[in-house]
Amino acid sequence: MQFAYSPLAWGFLLVLVPLLIHLINLVRHKKTPWAAMEFLLESYRKNRRWVWLKQALLIASRMLAMALLVGMLAQWLTDSKMFAWMGRSSVHHYVILDDSASMQDSANNKSAYQNGLGAIASIASIAKQDSQSHLLSIFRASRVQIAARDSNPDAQLIDPSKPNDVRADSVADLLAQTIPSDPSSILTKINSTQPTGLEASVLDCLDVVSRLIQSSEDEKSIVYIMSDYRNKDWGNPITIRQRLQAIQSESVEIQLIDCVESRHENLTITSIEPRQEVLAAGVPTMVNVTVQNHGTTAASNVSVRVAAVDYSASTGEPKPSDRFSGIVTELPPVLIERIEPGESATRNVQVVFPKSGSHVVQAELPPDSIAADNQASCVLDIAEGIRVLLVDGDAGGKHSYFFESALDPGGNAKTGLLIQRERPEYLRDADAVALENYACIILQSIPSLDPRALANLHSYVSGGGGLALWFGDDISMNDYLRGYSAWAKPIPGATNSLPLIPFALSGPVELTKEPGDATPDVLAQTHPIFAPLLGLSNSPFQFVRIERYVAIDTKSETGAEKLWKPVASLRNRDPLMVDYPLGAGRVLIALTSLDRRWSNWPQDPTFVVAALKMVGYLSSFKLPETSRPTGTALRWDFSSQEMLPETRLVLPASSARGVRAQVQINATDVGENSLRADYGSSSDTLTSDAARALNSSGVFEWWGTSIQGDPKVKNSARNTPGVEGDTQRVTPTDLARTLSGVKFNYRSAMSGISDMTLAGLSNRNMLLLGLLVALLMAEQWLAWSASYHLPKRS
């Protein structure tokens, strides 16, 4: 049994008062000697049962009246269907507050989120003027969505069409709170909240609210969805419509509260990421910054401020009072002349970090309606050098000469690559951990490989490594036809059933040339390897001659025929270079050799470019993510042999000049010599400031200490998803069309709340009052009937 004013339920003890009064009266009787006892006893014998019955009924009626009175005052709530006919005992206002990044949309110094908070205050104010009981529950979309995600850590398996099983009491900001005479007292907490930097949906909230409504059938329910009604969420809201249809009923009212007055101009940094190049200390890195215009008019002369934060030059201590603990270098702003509505523009910025470390590049747009998408960062984990393994089939390493020259020319030219040449046997003898140290492996003229070496390479590529395969004279026809057939078959015992190369080889073929044919021997496709060489008026490969190449057996069936794609083709349209994804890594197969009897490409300047790009491309699949969406849990894995378990996490500041909060986190064992520092939104230690920071975009600095006592820093960037900057709104007409079958009211948070009325709601208390009056009348009749009222004196 539930009551709106639970403490008043103690008043039910008052039902004993009539009984106590009766018992006390019996004890307090007066003694009177009586002469006419005979007639009194006769009356008693005659009326004994009737008097007892009336007296029992009288006491029972008084006790029941007392219970009804207390029940009325305490506002009895019940979900019993038996009492459903009595009418709704209370009105439950379920507020779903969209606190996604787009709710930062501001106009006149007031954000859409603040408009939503104002609408909640108005609802509470209207409700308190009503005589019956009003309950208020508030759910923020971000909290529910994060809880739903945490309940199913494998985010890939979350199906939005399936309801979550999040518990309401763990995610509600207010749950079934009775609206007091002063509603501000219960709204203090929610009023102190701010919109997050997340891409949050109201779907999960609707699931939670739906379950609450189903569990309290006797309530009149009003579901308010306070959102900015963007086209991306509400343009074709099939799932939302299904959810709303599921909760709508006679006792449920759906109010769609629009918190934005009109569409505003907005620019969004949709991505900031380094090109697929070698990230090494002292090597210039190009960072791409993409800006999208989500407004209705073209944006001109957009200036993007870019800052490079070098953590290698810092003092080695976190600086919570500064924006970053590293040394901030403002780069020349990037100017974008014009961005048409709905269009994107990408510009690159060159940054150079002289030393290794976890460095940051941050881009920032001028202020506009949505602040959350004006800033984005990426983390560049710069190493001192990138290790490249060259495996040469020739004992003298003659095939590696050109790659060694191109990748590590020496002198002032610094590529950041550390070349290591080995014989094919190394692949057999090295374990998987040893191969993990190489950013990519380049095989040249390998006649055959031991099955163990093949298994190691397969494991290396599947785990994100890059493998380049070149051929040569050291490979016989028998090797092509038989030895390489093992490459085109699944590796026994491997988790990935795909082969190391996607096709069988037929052997070397001479490339014939028709007289007068001016077609270059190499026809490059659009691919990162050739990106700098494409877009020219003439083919950059016009001086490249391919004399011999390895033909592929197109009839072979390896199970991976459709996975590879040509990066470059020959004049005769046969593939020259093939890109083949295997697991998390890539295999790049160059169907020729750098030997002069095969090709003169090493003598062409394009080879150096392509070689460097190839290494950059192949090594990019092992690079850590440079940024992730806001709200993603933070994690730092490290070895217990290198680092101490105590770490500190410095959170982004809530305001531009605010001090950044710090959280002490001890890493836990997750395996042999492996530690993991984990900090998610569901952490128990999360304070309100920390939760707010965690759901905001920015750079999170992990600080740890090496076992030698040196400070170590690892940065994580969290950026607001670009779609949150899309300000295109759905019109009420479109909303009515897309939500057909759902009965709802559409109101504006700024003007539509004040005229909202809660009239027409029946109240169980009125019925209780009626029962009480009837019971008191019956009590009076019983009392009169039992001669408990003094007779009129004649």
Binding site: N25, P33, W34, A36, M37
Partner: protein, 300 residues
């Protein structure tokens, strides 16, 4: 001139402790209000003249003296005993009840004293019997003035303790007073109803004229109790704890039936019956007595 009616009110009576004074005051007060004096002798032996006072019967004025002296005198004769009056007063425990100025016994004793006073002034012979379940005091008929003091003393000293058993008492009285007389019975008749009515009928059958004063307290007639009360029987060991208002109607109904039966039985036996509340002035009782006495005289 003080209002003579004041002397009839129980409140006034209660203040007079002496039964003699109480009787004199009551009777004199009662008689002074009558237009016709009840005192007139039936004897022919002249005793003296007395100056006329208002209320004296005009037939007794000595007109010859008036003719000689122009003054009004009445002739007084030595009256003869012409009535035997037996006063039967119930002194059972139930007669002790009374929350008003007088208990039922006090009221009955006052009535008896008043009647004795009036009777002896009329030269009637008066006897007194005080009883409960048996006769406690028995005074024979006498006409002397000194007998009045004996009656007063008996009434004042009678205890009210025991049960009522009127059957036995009436049988004994019937045996004790064989001659016909006027029997005045003052009782609440709370006891065996059947035996009581049987005894009354037997007395009447013996030729006695009977005047019954059924003395009842206001509480017994109205039952005005409101609060939870424990009623303890005065002549029995019965007790009852109850809410009086719940039993009031049933009690009054039973009581009324009892009174009706007594009244009906008295009427059937041609017994004069008066239900007297202890809160009422005693003149009702005295008027009833005088009416009964007149009727008795006419019969003689």
């Amino acid at each position: 001139m003080p209002d003579s009616k004041n002397y009839l009110h129980p409140e006034a009576i209660r203040r007079i402790a002496s039964m003699e004074l109480r009787a004199r005051n009551v009777v004199e007060g009662f008689l002074s209000g009558m237009h016709r004096s009840p005192y007139f002798g039936q004897s022919v032996e002249f005793v003296q003249h007395r100056q006329y006072v208002p209320g004296d019967d005009l037939r007794h004025i000595d007109w010859k003296v008036w003719g000689r002296q122009d003054r009004l005198y009445v002739k007084q004769y030595e009256e003869d005993t012409n009535l035997r009056c037996t006063l039967l007063v119930d002194a059972s425990a139930s007669m002790a009840y009374g929350r008003g100025p007088l208990s039922k016994f006090d009221y009955a004793a006052t009535i008896a004293a008043c009647m004795a006073y009036m009777s002896l002034r009329q030269q009637d012979s008066v006897g007194l019997t005080v009883f409960d379940q048996k006769i406690r005091t028995k005074l024979p008929w006498r006409t002397s003035r000194s007998h009045l003091q004996t009656i007063y003393k008996s009434l004042e000293q009678s205890p009210v303790t025991d049960k009522t058993d009127l059957t036995k008492v009436f049988r004994e009285i019937n045996d004790t007073y064989p001659k016909r007389s006027l029997m005045v019975i003052a009782s609440d008749f709370l006891g065996s109803e059947r035996e009581t009515l049987k005894g009354l009928t037997a007395l009447r059958s013996s030729g006695h004229d009977i005047l019954v004063f059924h003395i009842m307290d206001d509480d017994e007639l109205d039952f005005p109790f409101n609060d939870p009360t424990r009623f303890e029987g005065m002549e029995t060991i019965d007790t009852l704890t109850c809410n009086p208002r719940a039993l009031r109607d049933g009690y009054l109904e039973s009581l009324q039936k009892f009174l009706d039966r007594v009244r009906h039985a008295c009427a059937s036996a041609r017994i004069d019956y008066q239900l007297v509340r202890t809160s009422r002035p005693v003149d009702a009782a005295l008027s009833a007595y005088l009416s009964a006495r007149m009727a008795h005289m006419r019969k003689r």
